[in-house]
Symmetry: C2
Subunit: 340 residues, 2 copies
Amino acid sequence: MSAEAVSVKMKDRSSQPSLDPILSLTAPSMEAVNAVILDRMQSEIPLIPALAGHLISGGGKRMRPMLTLAGAELVGYKGNHHHKLAAAVEFLHTATLLHDDVVDGSETRRGKEAANMIYGNPATVLVGDFLFARAFELMVDADNLRALKVLSDASVIIAQGEVDQLTAQRKIETSEEHYLHIIGAKTAALFSAASRISAVIADCPPEQEKALDDYGRYLGIAFQLVDDAIDYDSERAEMGKDQGDDFREGKMTLPVILAYEKGTSEERKFWQEAIAGFRTEDEDLAHAVQLINRHGTIAATRERALEFADKACDALSIFPDSKARAAMVEAAQFAVSRLY
Amino acid sequence: MSAEAVSVKMKDRSSQPSLDPILSLTAPSMEAVNAVILDRMQSEIPLIPALAGHLISGGGKRMRPMLTLAGAELVGYKGNHHHKLAAAVEFLHTATLLHDDVVDGSETRRGKEAANMIYGNPATVLVGDFLFARAFELMVDADNLRALKVLSDASVIIAQGEVDQLTAQRKIETSEEHYLHIIGAKTAALFSAASRISAVIADCPPEQEKALDDYGRYLGIAFQLVDDAIDYDSERAEMGKDQGDDFREGKMTLPVILAYEKGTSEERKFWQEAIAGFRTEDEDLAHAVQLINRHGTIAATRERALEFADKACDALSIFPDSKARAAMVEAAQFAVSRLY
C-alpha cells in the first residue's frame, strides 16, 4: 500500500456528517462482537450479568470496538481475532464507566439510572473488576501478545489518567496543557489502542500501525473535547448526559479553562468558588453558561476539536482511498458535528 | 523427576512450624521481586505511589509471590521471568485488597489505617485499577501467554468470588458448601495460580503443573479458614486483623455456619439477627464468641483447615525430597499453626 496524499480536511465537507457509513461498514462484524460480549458477560453469579447488562445493553454507541473493526476493514485483515479484541475493548470501557460512576456518585448514565444507584457502590466496583478481568481473558484468547501489550499499556495509562483527573478536580489552576494530558490518557489512550490493534493483528508495517494509533488518539481527544463542551452547551441537551455534571463535580474542562483565562476578576472569583464546590445551584450553572457564552469558549473548544479531527483524518492519508477510509474520516467529522 | 510417595502429613510434626524455611529459600529472588514492585508502582501521578505504597510497604507477608518463587525453586526453573510474574501476583492481590476495603468500608488493614480512610474511596478504587492494569502489563513483559492465561482466568474467578461473597453477605442460610466455593474463588484461585505459573514458565510436565496448582489451592483454603476462625478466636488477636469484622459485616464464615447448624432455636434466633445486622455491639460479639466456644466450631474449623493443609502437602509428594519441598510443606503447616 503506497502513501497517497488525500486531503480529508473537515472544511472540505459541507453536508452533515454521519456515523452511518462506519456503522454499516462494521455491522456484520459488530454482530459477532456483540455475540462475544453477551457470551462473556455471563457468570454463575446472577448479579454479574444483571449489573453488567444494565450498562452494556443500555445503548452505548460501541465507538471503541467499532474502531477496531473499521481498522480491520481498512487494512484488509482476514482472520477473526478482532472480534474478541473488540469485545475486550468494550469490556475495558464498560469497567471504566462503572468505576467512574462510583467515583463521581453519578445518578444517571446513558439516559438511565446509573448501575451504582440501583445495585450500590460495592457491587458496581466488583462487577467492574470482573469485566476488567474478562477483558484480559478475552485478549489472551485472541492469542496475540503484541495486541495484549498495546491494550495492557493503554489500561495503565487510562488508570493514571483517571487518578490525574481526580487530583485535578476542584483545582481552578488546571492548565489547558494539563487538561489535554488528562483526556489524552483517560479517553484517547483506549481510542488509539482500539484502532491500533487492528494493524497489529494484521501484521501491518509500523507506519500503518502508527497511522491507526494516531487516528484513534486524535479522534478520542476530539470526542472528549466535544463531550466536555456539550456539558455547557445551552443550545442542546444530549441524551444520556446530564448537563452541568462536570460543573457540579468541579471538573476543569476546556470551556471553563478558557472562560477563566479570559474572565474579569469578578468572573474569576465566581469560577474559583464554583470549581471549589461552593456554587452548585441551577442558577450558578446558568451563570456559568452565560460567562462561557460571553467569551465564546464553546466555539473555541469546537475549534480545537476540529483541529484534532483534522489530524485524525490526515493520519489516514497514508492509506489508499477506500470505503473503510471514507467511513472513518466521516466518523471523525461526525464527532465534532455533534456540537453544530 | 519420578513420583516418590513421601508422607508429609501435619500430624507427623511435633515442633512449632515456621515460615522461616520458605522465607530464606525465597529471600534472594524476593529481593528481585521487591525491586520490580517498587519500580512498577511508580507513576507520574504522585497519588499513585503514595496510596499504593501505603499498603504495599505495610508489612504484608507476600505469601502469594512467595509461592511463585518457591515453586520455581522446587522445579529448578533457571530463567528470571518469575520475578515479574510474582510482582504481578502481588499487584493483583493488592488491587483486590484496596477494592475490598472500599467495599467493606474497612477502617484498618495490616494494623494501620486503611487506604480508603486516608485517601478516600474514589482514589482507592482508581489506584486499585492502576495496580490491576500494571499487573497485566508485567505479565505481558514476562512474555508467556500460558502464564497469562492462568492468571487472567484466576482474575475472573477472584472477581466472581468477590461478587458471590457480597451477595451471600447477611444471608444466614449460606451453606458450608457455598462458603467453601466462595473462598475457593476469592482466595484460593490466586494461591493456586501463583503456585502453578512457576511450573508453566519452567515448561514442566502437566502432572507437576497440576500438583503445584493443587498445593496452592488447598493451601489457600487452609489459610482462609484459619483467617476466618481467628476473627472469632478469643485466645488471640492477630496483628492487623480487627477481630469481629466478619461478624459486624454479616459475613457467613465456617465458625458461624457450624455454630448456627448446632445451635438451639434461641441461639439460631441470635445468629439470624446478628447476621442480618441488628446485633453489632461489643456485647453481641462477645455472645457470638461464647456460642462458638460452646459448640467448639473454632476447633472444627481448624480441623477442616488441617485437612486442606494435608492435601496441599500430599500434592507435593510427586516431587522428590528437597529443601524447597520441605519449606513448602512447612509453610502449609504454619498456615494452620496460627490457630494453635
